[in-house]
Amino acid sequence: MNLRAFLGTSLAMALLTVIVLAAPAGAVEFSLAHGANGRCLDCHAEPDLGTIVVNGERKSLTVDETMWHDSAHSRLDCTACHAGFQPREHTAEETAGWYEQAKLTACSDCHADEFTMYSGSFHGDLVMGENDKRAPSCADCHGSHGIVSPTSPAFRAAVPGMCGRCHGDKESTYLDTYHGKSQTLGGMTTAVCTDCHGSHSILPQSDPASTISSENVAGTCGKCHEHASTKFASFLVHVDRSTPKSSLWVWLMEMSHSVLIGVLFVFGGLHCFLYFYRGLREGLYSRG
């Protein structure tokens, strides 16, 4: 073996080693990280891991493993959101501010478009502009470890309850409409909150760019209701029939129905019951 052959072979082997170790670095890191997910779950799958208080809210440190595996993000690393966390007992440096990050900016790495829309929305402005802790960020609607596709039936069915956590009065009036009733009974074709109000870019009705502003509302109805007119769109979706404060006319109509039903049921019930009672007492039913 001459020197040239020796040097050449050595160089080739070194190159190969570098290629094997360096070139598919992403893939290698991926597999390592997946091993790391397993290592995260070594501790975090424990049901009695304890809790932590964040923003005055008590959160469990346990991750439901089945829920995680069924989620849309099950192929991501834990550290994709929990950046910088090491597979050991976490230090204060690691955990400082992780909650805000995992809840909000962690999503923007992959979902930049949605994040931009959200930033310009009413909710986004409250969270990021006014630092309002009550307003929702990504995880408040989408969840965290159990994220499902927003187009899935389960997610759609959960939307009214999700919005209802803050907008309870709107949820109850929605559930009183055909849209809401059909939704409650498992219908998948009627509108939920987000179909009319939008999702990431929700704006108040007063904003001309809002999906429900007077300029846009007919078009929003028109997504499902062909030939929807402005008059059609003036239908009162969120009307509470039990109070005149919501809509005086609807309340009056509801009340007059209640009175009519009450009077006729009492009259009819008595007429029917007493007829039956007299008939029984006088033996009129035993004529064979």
Partner: protein
């Protein structure tokens, strides 16, 4: 019959006595046909479509209840219930059109008889009849034998209530079926009104017309129990009919129109078949009545509980 007060209908007292029933029934035609085949078929389709409309509509009204969600699942979900509801509505509207045609014919042909004897329009006598019945209900008098013409006060009341009800249900139902079309000509709040009226009207129809009124009078009133056969068999024994509606009987004898409504009783084989069908319909009706009654009791308890 001494204890039964008769002749509370003044008009009846002035009439000449009608010939005995046995004499009136000619050539074996011993039965009185109260409703024509057309009327009986319309009734049948109203009965079927009404029940279907209630069974597919009520779970929507009470969508927050567990029973409604289970029942909706059992009939194939809200989507298919909506299809069935609309199909039944088409049958109901067809029946309404048939009845409107029938009323138009009555109005044109009756020439003044519309307000006359056998009318569907409530009059003073109906008020007297109701008063007499209520007197009996509360134990202030003995059981009255109402001198009825073609329709009793409870039938007239039901007719007008059902007519008003079906009009409201058809109009509001059409608005809810085609809300975009309604919204082209009318303000959107009309759709809100339609919802309130369709939902309230349904409860009224089911509770008042059916549970407390129609089912009761057609099935559970002592004279009819377990079922008034007038709408089912076509022919009632003449004696029975003449006893229950003496004024109509006497009027027809006087006018010479009794012959038009006399029919022969059905044959033995047909009677056997009819009996089977009769028990099925009666059973289904009583079962539905019990269900609807329970439902009305439940609604009443909800209503009382809301205070």
């Amino acid at each position: 019959m001494a204890s039964v007060e008769s002749g509370i209908r003044d008009k009846g007292a002035a009439l000449e006595p009608a010939p005995p029933v046995a004499q009136a029934a000619v050539a074996g035609r011993t039965h009185f046909r109260r409703f024509t085949a057309f009327q009986r078929w319309v009734h049948f389709f109203i009965m079927v479509s009404f029940s279907t409309l209630v069974l597919t509509g009520m779970p929507l009204k009470y969508s927050d209840q567990a029973w409604a969600q289970r029942w909706m699942g059992a009939i194939g979900g809200v989507q298919s219930a909506g299809m069935i509801h609309r199909f039944a509505a088409i049958i109901m509207v067809s029946c309404v059109i048939c009845m409107l045609g029938f009323f138009a014919r009555v109005l044109i042909k009756s020439k003044g008889h519309f307000w006359g004897p056998g009318t569907m329009v409530p009059d003073r006598q109906d008020y007297q009849d109701l008063k007499a019945m209520v007197g009996w209900f509360v134990g202030r008098r003995s059981r009255p034998h109402l001198q009825l013409d073609r329709y009793a006060y409870y039938e007239k009341g039901e007719f007008w209530a059902a007519s008003a009800g079906v009009t409201v249900m058809c109009v509001t139902g059409a608005i809810l079926w085609y809300p975009e079309a309604a919204g082209r000509y009318l303000p959107g709040i009309v759709i809100n009104f339609a919802l309130v009226n369709h939902s309230g009207g349904a409860l009224l129809a089911m509770g008042f017309v059916v549970v407390f009124w129609h089912f009761f009078h057609a099935h559970l009133r002592p004279e009819a129990f377990p079922m008034d056969k007038a709408m089912y068999a076509g022919g009632l024994p003449l004696e029975e009919y003449a006893h229950e509606r003496p004024l109509e009987y006497e009027r027809r004898v006087r006018e010479g129109t009794l012959d038009e409504v006399l029919v022969a009783p059905v044959g033995e084989t047909r009677m056997k078949v009819q009996n089977v069908v009769w028990w099925i319909i009666t059973g289904a009706a009583l079962f539905l009545w019990a269900m609807f009654s329970l439902f009305v009791v439940w609604v009443a308890s909800l209503w009382i509980g809301s205070f």
